[in-house]
Symmetry: C2
Subunit: 454 residues, 2 copies
């Protein structure tokens, strides 16, 4: 949510835009940080966003580019699409190669080609090289502008290089390479300060560098940066040649993105945001709903099978959704802990069996408690103790199955190299619906002769 300050600022900007006081706006914006400007822009409507962005472009292209980057792909793209292709090129050229690649790959194919042709050859080549790597890999998110020095240099020469290099705000480590650009070591800026200038880099560097290859999954990159508390991680190709670097700010983006993806997949949402246009949201959410409808109808055939029983004992229909729903809720708890555990690396194949047994135990125990409560309520409500027994038993069975399937399904999907977040929920609720309906109505049918008609 916005801070009160941002709110007041957005109000002033809207007024100034209405008065077309672009000079005033520019003076206001140039005092802010890119993060603050993007924060402010989120509070404006699309037309005002574009006007503001144009003012920014005309006065400080680099600030405009950083603001665009801070706005993120979804909002940034909406603004870019309203600009002429030369302007798009101008702003994207100001970005780091990896960030430019993100926007270009999301532009409509024809526009992307046009922008690439208008770009300076060197940058266009760099972007196209990044785009050759698969999405969500280290190669795709790295910046090729990595600061590396030859192992034969001295510390003094290294410090001089740092002093004269351009555009180095985000340099935390100095990577050391040999004649053929193989990554052979790493030195921190602080280490450089600790030794005499004549010391060879070879002597101060750490030889055992943690690195990833271009095809490493971005989630694994984030895990390593977090595990070893790094500020940046170098990227090498198959021959251990240094080709890029991924900094911690990009890793933070990856962590957020992957968490959002997991949350979304668990809820049946793909790549959707508050700002996504309705038509796009409808199209992206519909397939999940259609699949859910299909599985719900499959589960419904179980109920259809017991129609005569329901016709005689209509109150069974009252508790049907309770049995299925509680199984679904209980299974979702297990599923969520498993999916998150797999994402955070808490689950290992070694403790798989213990994990499944634990989840079965937890599901069954909670099934026992809530099942007895529900059974008691049903008995008191309908004055029928057999109904209570049937409801309790069905819930215990269903929550046992929920614990079993809730842990088994994500593990199985992971083994098959399918993202466990994406499909687990659908399989799970199909199981808990079918088992819930079957156990409740099946038991009711078996005990039919002892049940009084409604």
């Amino acid at each position: 949510m916005q801070t009160p300050k941002a709110h007041v600022l957005a109000g002033s900007v809207r007024k100034l835009l209405r008065r077309k006081a672009y000079g005033h706006i520019a003076n206001l914006l140039l005092k802010l940080r890119p993060g603050d400007i993007s924060h402010l822009m989120r509070d404006l409507n699309e037309r005002d966003q574009v006007s503001l962005f144009s003012v920014l472009m005309s006065r400080d292209r680099s600030l405009a580019a950083e603001t665009l980057n801070n706005l993120g792909l979804e909002v940034g793209l909406e603004i870019l699409k309203l600009l002429p292709s030369q302007e798009i090129t101008n702003v994207l050229q100001e970005l780091e190669t990896d960030d430019a690649a993100v926007f270009i790959s999301a532009l409509p194919e024809e526009l992307a080609q046009e922008v690439l042709q208008r770009m300076r050859v060197e940058e266009s080549t760099e972007v196209q090289e990044l785009l050759r790597y698969s999405e969500e890999t280290a190669g795709r998110i790295m910046t090729p502008n990595v600061f590396a020095l030859h192992e034969d240099l001295s510390v003094g020469e290294a410090i001089h290089s740092i002093q004269t290099a351009q555009d180095l705000e985000m340099v935390f480590y100095l990577y050391v390479v040999d004649d053929r650009n193989h990554l052979v070591g790493v030195v921190s800026l602080r280490q450089l300060l600790m030794v005499p200038p004549s010391t060879p880099l070879k002597k101060v560097m750490t030889g055992d560098v943690i690195s990833v290859t271009t095809d490493t999954d971005q989630e694994e990159v984030a895990r390593q940066v977090a595990l070893y508390d790094l500020l940046a991680i170098p990227v090498v190709d198959q021959e251990n040649k240094l080709v890029g670097v991924i900094t911690v700010d990009d890793v933070i983006d990856v962590i957020k993105e992957e968490a959002t993806e997991d949350i979304y997949y668990l809820a049946g949402v793909t790549d959707d945001h508050v700002q996504t246009p309705p038509a796009v949201s409808i199209r992206r959410r519909l397939p999940w709903l259609v699949i859910n409808l299909a599985t719900a109808l499959i589960a419904a055939t179980v109920v259809a099978f017991y129609e005569p029983t329901i016709a005689r004992f209509a109150y069974l229909a009252v508790f049907l959704p309770v049995v299925a729903g509680m199984g679904g809720n209980c299974g979702t708890q297990t599923l969520t802990v498993m999916v998150r555990g797999l994402a955070l690396g808490e689950v290992s194949w070694e403790n798989t069996k213990a994990t499944i047994l634990k989840e079965i135990l937890v599901g069954t125990a909670n099934g026992l408690i809530t099942g007895l409560i529900a059974g008691l309520v049903a008995f008191l409500w309908k004055g029928n103790y057999l109904l209570g027994v049937v409801l309790s038993t069905a819930m215990i069975i269903n929550m046992f199955v929920a614990g079993l399937m809730g842990s088994l399904i994500p593990l199985a999907l992971k083994k098959l190299n399918i993202d466990p977040a994406i499909a687990s929920g659908i399989f799970l609720t199909t199981f808990t619906d079918v088992v819930g309906f079957l156990s409740f109505l099946g038991l009711a049918h078996l005990l039919l002769q002892y049940l009084p008609a409604a």
Copy 2:
């Protein structure tokens, strides 16, 4: 998941533990990074974890402490609880104050007091001071060991301080303070290298420092670090006196923790992990299930009201869970996008109305499409076109409500300062269940005279 290398390593360690070859194990462990050791320990059972940790403690206490920290609170605590209080004190004393505070606050009250008494006075005082701040605030997660220098020093003196300071691996910025310890500026290590040593710090520092106060919510801290791409953020008290610093590695932990919390809340899980003992998991998940049971039973009273209708047209029971389930799924999609949008700062009060309208539109459109499909299936299945009309209409109504309530509920909770992730789901499914049952059975009841009996 573990890498093949970690798997082989865990195998060797298990063998060595069985042979009690502790010397061999120590030699093996001392070659690894803390991150690798914690990775390896996750593959061992609890007894082996404790044995391994004891070996580590006897040989390299600082490595043991870092490993403990990497294991995280849940697993780390299980190991700590099995150690004598003096050993716990020894290992926690090696940690940064903020990390030690995390473990101490999670120990049983009596044990925590004992450990605090055994600790060196200075560290014990620091830990107790952190524990005075509320959970999930900047004060609680900061480290009080912040590297700050007086504004009157020169760049040369500053570089000398860095060279002689102890334990500075995670220093990225030099904070500058005045006589009364007020935060007045910041300098990056690289900036220090760019100017002559005689330059006063005052001349090179940036005066406009982004900082947070001790009571800033940790989620807001993480948002600022991400927004401004910082490596560390200083923490000041109400008088702008510098009292601590939060580094990016801790921010990464906060981001993961908050994402996990949101995912868990949406699924009705609190602070639960794969390694959590079954009894604890049962106790933590049960309240959610009981609340869900209560709301499910409330919704069931709607069905109970229409029992006579169901007794006559039993096939209505077949489609009841379909209507309620589709509403729930559709609403969950909206809810998830809203909750994540609120967490990531994508939603502002300015665009609230547009957001709600969009979600209603998306819900209704998808309700129209899936409703028509479901209605057609019902018509073909039961050969009853009125049933199809009733089902379609009920689904459209329910998914309209799902879009409305899915966006309204999290916004309302946020306004009331309640975490929208925590309670939205329960309110939502209560609405979609009640509206689903009511619209489907209500419509069926109204059109009763035109429907043939089953």
